[in-house]
């Protein structure tokens, strides 16, 4: 019995050791939002147009997901991306910090992957920010049809 109790105590202390490691997952200059996205001068629409060409399957899946959400969620997504890319580096970096420490906003609750095309993949961020300045900032990209 004592042996079992010791095991439980040991398990608890191991858990206690591991908790600080999780809590230490602070934002960095490249996490959770890739550095390229923090620093780009492109608009959300320019990044989307670039992604359509550089990472077409990733882009297509995002747009299908976008169109599968109701118009309020779609509008909130557009607004949030416009708000984010209107900020300078310091503002974006601050938001990246908040992403790690906060429990998320209502939009995240309605559509957890609403920023996936922009924030979730460093490779995609690198591809898109390399060429996004070559694309027009056309809001029609949000109407991209979600079928082939």
């Amino acid at each position: 019995m004592l042996g079992k109790a010791s095991l439980v105590a040991a398990a608890i202390s191991v858990a206690a050791v591991s908790i600080p490691a999780v809590a230490a997952a602070d934002a960095t200059d490249d996490y959770p939002i890739p550095n390229r996205i923090l620093r780009t001068t492109c608009t959300a629409e320019q990044i989307m147009a670039a992604a359509r060409d550089t990472d077409p399957v990733y882009f297509e899946r995002y747009m299908i997901d976008y169109h599968n959400h109701n118009p309020d969620v779609q509008r909130a997504t557009r607004d949030k991306m416009h708000w984010f890319f209107s900020m300078d580096y310091a503002g974006r970096r601050q938001y990246s910090e908040e992403l790690v420490t906060s429990l998320g906003d209502p939009l995240t609750g309605a559509w957890p992957n609403h920023a996936k095309l922009f924030f979730n993949n460093k490779g995609v961020a690198a591809h898109t920010t390399d060429v996004c300045a070559d694309y027009p900032s056309d809001p029609a990209i949000w109407d991209y049809p979600a079928h082939w």
Binding site: R52, D53, P56, V57, W148
Partner: protein
């Protein structure tokens, strides 16, 4: 630039005329499988789902005029394939994709595969020769 386009045209001719090889394979109920099998005859491998996505999206880009012509399509496809892929394989991929997913677009490919028409003989320049007077 002109030489590059000539090479592309030759590749386009292959994309239109070579598919007999692909058609020799038994047709499946699943077009993605047929497409996948045809790509193998060109030495194009990779994931079946990914290739099907790219094939369908190549069609979508032509329908939406994202790609203005089949030259742009093949350039875009080449960027989506493995780095070792060749221009000829990009054209073969495009031809297979169009036959499988958007046969209505095939005339675009056939048009660039037509041999260029012979230029009309130029009129002689300069003053008329004595025999012409």
């Amino acid at each position: 630039m002109r030489g590059k386009r000539l090479i592309s045209t030759v590749a386009a001719v292959c994309a239109v005329t070579v598919p007999g090889l692909g058609l020799a394979a038994p047709a499946n109920a699943d077009p993605d499988t047929d497409f996948y099998n045809e790509l193998h005859t060109y030495g194009i491998y990779g994931q079946k789902d990914y290739n099907a996505w790219i094939g369908k999206l190549a069609c979508k880009r032509l329908w939406m005029h994202t790609d203005a012509d089949v030259y742009k399509s093949s350039e875009w496809i080449l960027k989506q394939l493995d780095r070792e892929s060749t221009t000829a394989q990009a054209w073969q991929f495009l031809g297979a994709a169009m036959r499988t997913y958007c046969p209505d677009q095939l005339p675009l490919l056939q048009n660039v595969a037509q041999p260029p028409e012979a230029a009309p003989a130029a009129a002689p320049a300069g003053p008329a020769l004595p025999a012409e007077r």
